[in-house]
């Protein structure tokens, strides 16, 4: 029974495919999984948009949307209908082909990342040996789409937004990769399935998730920071900073193309949350061994939605960074710490079992964090401001 609930989607897929001739079965199984992914994640996107609007409202002591349906739960439907019936305007001097391709490309690329994510036991679309590499290769292509959008719009705001986006995404791509390299070093595999298996063990009922080790915790935090920047989320939402750049690279998009950008952004966030969960939070494994009867796919989606809630929480809290702060933070703080974390992960691997490696690794990371935090803040002189005006 428990086994059936765990494998319900796998069994369902097998059952549906069994109606077809055996020559078609492998292709049909893949197609079915693709359709399932393309249906599930936009549905989660709708839920997270509602969560975001309601949650942000509550954080600012207001109700949030509450007019469409009971408690406003049909707001995403209304938003979708609005996006569909709005006029699609392409600027007169825009590069129409690229302008059209940019949102399509973004959505395609963002969905491709899901191909390698293990969403449950036996629930990986393509169990690639270099799944992690594939995910990063695909994830980096979103930058191209962003730049296509900004460049083809022939609008200075769009272009500025795209320039910022590219600078930011390239800067944060490095720490994002570096922080996950530690996981690869410990696991010894680039396969996401193997990474989950390595974490799916329990001691005294507690899981062996990487986030519960010093290097894993540091890696997780650094990964989360870099992922927030990669997905252009607040406080790193400079590329679309609405107070400065109208809407950044998608200023000139309206109607359904805009909705596609929106969808791409959220689905991308969920993808990278899924990757974070896979790398550091044990993927589809249960948080306690006695919770093993809950289906594995539930844990994966619960972790993804939890990560989305944290994204929303952070967005409701932090103001936007300045461009130079953003760059300084990436190159002078996050990157050195990820490099140090690689060394710490190596130490952890070769110091063997015991309490000593806990002490040494934690001490190194804490010391580095404190010292670098002090050093980074030393330059800030917070005092009365002086203003100079152009004459």
């Amino acid at each position: 029974m428990i086994e059936k609930a765990d494998q319900i989607f796998v069994l369902l897929s097998h059952w549906l495919v069994s109606f077809l001739p055996s020559a078609l079965q492998p292709a049909a199984a893949v197609l079915l999984s693709v359709v399932a992914i393309i249906v599930t994640f936009p549905a989660l996107f709708a839920i997270s948009v509602l969560l975001e609007r309601k949650g942000l409202g509550r954080m600012q002591n207001r109700y949030g949307p509450n007019r469409v349906g009971p408690y406003g739960i049909f707001q995403p439907v209304a938003d979708g209908v609005k996006a569909l019936i709005k006029e699609d305007i392409v600027p007169f001097r825009a590069d129409a082909v690229v302008h059209f391709l940019a949102p399509v490309f973004l959505v395609v690329v963002v969905f491709m990342g899901y191909a390698v994510l293990p969403m449950g036991r036996n629930m990986t679309l393509v169990n690639m040996d270099a799944g992690l590499l594939f995910f990063f290769a695909i994830g980096a292509s979103t930058e191209l789409s962003v730049f296509m959008a900004g460049w083809s719009s022939r609008n200075k705001y769009s272009l500025l937004g795209a320039m910022r986006a590219v600078a930011q995404m390239i800067s944060y791509e490095v720490p994002l990769l570096m922080s996950s390299v530690a996981v690869v070093m410990i696991t010894g595999s680039l396969s996401l399935g193997k990474i989950v298996d390595a974490q799916n063990q329990y001691t005294y009922g507690f899981p062996h998730w990487y986030v519960f080790t010093p290097w894993g915790f540091a890696g997780f935090v650094l990964f989360a920071i870099a992922a927030t920047a990669e997905t252009n989320r607040s406080p790193f939402d400079l590329p679309e900073g609405e107070s400065e750049l109208v809407a950044g690279y998608f200023t000139e998009y309206s109607g359904f193309k805009f909705a596609l950008f929106f969808l791409g952004e959220y689905v991308g966030m969920m993808g990278i949350s899924g990757l974070a969960a896979t790398l550091f939070l044990g993927g589809w494994s249960a948080p306690f061994s006695w919770l093993g009867w809950v289906p594995s796919w539930f844990w994966f989606f619960a972790k993804v939605m939890l990560a989305m809630c944290i994204f929303i929480w952070v967005r409701g809290t932090l103001p936007r960074l300045r461009q130079d702060q953003l760059m300084n933070f990436a190159w002078k703080f996050v990157l050195p710490l990820t490099l140090l974390n690689l060394i710490v992960a190596g130490l952890w691997r070769f110091m063997g079992e015991g309490w000593l490696r806990w002490l040494v690794c934690s001490a190194i990371l804490l010391l580095a964090y404190t010292l670098m935090g002090r050093g980074g803040m030393r330059g800030d002189h917070i005092g009365p401001r002086s203003y100079r005006y152009a004459e």
């Binding site: 509550r58 954080m59 670098m372 935090g373």
Partner: protein
């Protein structure tokens, strides 16, 4: 330590998030069409014309002196003066505006018309649900749409209306007294005229009469 402020901020938003569900005073939103915020007495948006009594046509305090039309900075008032006189709410014959239009799409709610009106005839309204599908005709208010009773004025601006009423009553008492004195003087003069017909008499009594007239 680095990151302390971020944690503090996250705590603050979490407190807001939970607090908005448990404490009503955090959630200050007034859900407008169903609920309404209490009206603020000092609020104002566009002018209206006050009338005394019950008949909005006859009771207008406005005597078409056109001061407001001249003083209006964006020139949104248009007045046509009548050629005849009609009795006002107190039965006194007065010149009246045959047309009194205010274009509220032009009006900037400066209240200057109210400041300059010597007859307390134009006041500021608080009605704000003025949306219309016709942005030209629908926002050009004529005399009929602008006329509102003194009771309405009392309802929206109680303090101010009470002051205005007291002032008007005081002036009325003064004017009545003056008119009475003038009438008495005129009567006395009329009685005296036959006796001193040839001599030219000081022109003082008529002047008083004129002053009394103006204030009334």
């Amino acid at each position: 330590m680095l990151g302390e402020g971020i944690l503090k901020g996250l705590g603050e938003t979490a407190r807001n998030f939970v607090g908005s569900y448990v404490s009503a005073e955090r959630l200050t939103t007034v859900q407008y069409p169903e609920e309404r915020a209490p009206e603020i007495e000092a609020t104002r948006d566009f002018p209206f014309l006050v009338y005394d009594g019950t008949d909005g046509e006859a009771g207008l305090r406005c005597v078409a002196c056109q001061i407001c039309e001249k003083e209006c900075p964006p020139k949104c008032i248009y007045i046509v003066k009548s050629t005849d006189k009609k009795p006002d709410a107190f039965g006194k014959p007065q010149i009246y505006p045959t047309r009194f239009d205010i274009d509220i799409s032009v009006c900037m709610s400066c209240q200057i018309c109210v400041e300059v009106c010597p007859f307390e005839a134009i006041k500021m309204d608080t009605e704000f649900e003025l949306s219309t599908t016709d942005r030209f005709g629908g926002l050009l208010y004529d005399r009929k749409e602008l006329s509102k009773s003194n009771e309405y004025y009392h309802k929206i601006h109680p303090t101010e209306a009470a002051e205005v009423d007291a002032r008007l009553a005081e002036e009325k008492v003064k004017a009545d007294a003056k008119a009475k004195a003038a009438a008495a003087a005129a009567a006395a003069k009329a009685a005296a005229v036959p006796a001193q017909a040839p001599a030219h008499i000081t022109p003082k009594p008529p002047v008083t009469a004129v002053e009394g007239d103006k204030q009334g």
